[in-house]
């Protein structure tokens, strides 16, 4: 039984840099609760003889050789950026909330 609290949603929102209203916190707490309950059903059917799995394919060691391949041009790399300065991606202030 999970019961996600409002505080937990607020914490998650802060980590995800989302500004949520009080109503939204309640709203998502209910939704997240439902999601976690649904996922928890998997645990009910997982028996001792079923190992936990993180990947759909039974593969290991898929590697590439250490070879250089063509990169994008800076023009192309920056083409989709909302803001550019000195051939760099310009982003809003970092850590504003903690300064």
């Amino acid at each position: 039984m999970s019961a996600i609290t409002r505080d937990e949603v607020a914490h998650l929102a802060r980590l995800s840099r989302l500004a949520l209203t009080g109503d939204e916190l309640d709203h998502y707490a209910t939704q997240l609760d439902a999601i976690i309950e649904a996922v928890a059903k998997v645990a009910e059917v997982a028996a001792e003889d079923v190992p936990p799995s993180s990947h759909a394919l039974p593969l290991t060691n898929v590697f590439r050789a250490d070879e250089v391949r063509q990169s994008l041009t800076p023009e192309l790399a920056l083409a989709g950026a909302p803001a550019v300065e000195d051939d760099r991606f310009r982003v809003p202030r970092i850590l504003g909330e903690e300064a």
């Binding site: 993180s54 290991t60 898929v62 990169s71 790399a77 760099r88 850590l95």
Partner: protein, 497 residues
Amino acid sequence: MTMVYDEALDAFEPVLGLETHVELGTRSKMFCGCKTTFGAPPNTQVCPTCLALPGALPTANTMAIESTIRIGLALNCSIAEWCRFARKNYFYPDMPKNYQISQYDEPLCFDGYVDVEVDGRTVRIEIERVHLEEDTGKSTHVGGATGRIHGADYSIVDYNRAGIPLVEIVTKPIPGTDRLAPEVARAYVTELREIMRSLGVSDVRMEEGSLRCDVNVSLMPRGASEWGTRTETKNVNSLRSVERAVRSEIERQAGVLADGGKIVQETRHFHEDTGTTTSGRSKEEAQDYRYFPEPDLVPIAPDPAWVAELKAALPELPSVRRKRLQAEWGLSDLDMQAMHNADAFDLVEATVAAGAPPADARKWWMGELARRANETGTPLADLPITPADIARVTELVASGALNDKLAREVLEGVLAGEGTPDEVVEKRGLQIVNDEGELSAIIDQVLADNADAADKVRSGKIAAAGALVGGVMRASKGKADAARARQLILEKLGVSG
């Protein structure tokens, strides 16, 4: 207020922890084929994968996996039979994906150790884990008063570095170093740097950020059994700074504790100019990173036969090599320490390999050349002179073609870019005067000019010959063989030395 170091250590015992990041020297990035060249123009070594464009998928670089396993083996670690990459989720623009591919509870290498020598004592540093991850992009903070992250108006990001393979080496907590804590920390990072160099997996240049260190320090009152709260000082970027950061953090924490305060678990920043740390962001809890297995990369299961092969092919490790060289060269611990500090092992070894006797090789590198390196602030290895040059000079001295004074002039000429030792000898006319006739003529002139001294020698005051030898050396501009000159002077004056 901060406490003086010695007083801090009277009251408290430090516990250290070190996290070291090593950028691997692979040709291409960890998960894509972009180049890894340092200092390239911004955003010229980026592609859809390392920019996290939709649909791009990572594939692990086999050389990075191999290098990480070799590092683990060199640090006496066990190698995981099976492990996975993990996503470390955080919202910060140094990674365009909003997560970093790292490893969490399944590192590639774990439970190792490395021994370091400090002050004649061997300290065993236990390694908790060695894992593989990707480096982040480089942010430049613009605006605000300081150009630092706090108070900046905005930031600009270059992703050339994002995705370069990065190995993180984490120690277990290191208690019991007591007053030597700063020196132990430095010795450990120095040893790691040498191990990485001997493995050839990284160029480990701290000034270029390919070796970076985070220093954890906590204090507990003397006699206590429970460790205190630790702080993590980030990105300490020189060996000297490692030592200073530990010392400064001990002094600061002792001051806070002595005033009845509490240490806050936080990230701190080290400042080169003042040698002190200031508070950074408060540290996020591991669970805040919401790690989960990386779905885009399949697990790694190193073949034990491959690991055994890599282990068998490890090069001689620096500590073993130092012991061997010390025995071969017959050097004292003090000499070895001096050579270690001057980073002279490779140079002296190469000089010996080029034919010089070990004592001579060491004499030149640790004497004349170390002095020159100090004066000019250049690392010894960057002086414009090669081990082969030094070997040739020692050969010329041994054959009697040069004396020590002339040899120093030859080195000076080589350092000044005048060519090989032989070319400098030729151009500057530095051969010892071996022509007996020429030497004899010089001596006759000196005897004639110094009749008083010559008489004294004739009458048995052999000590007066010194002045005459000096005269010959002056007259020959230092090119005479002093021992032969003395012999000839005594013969000419009818006395036996």
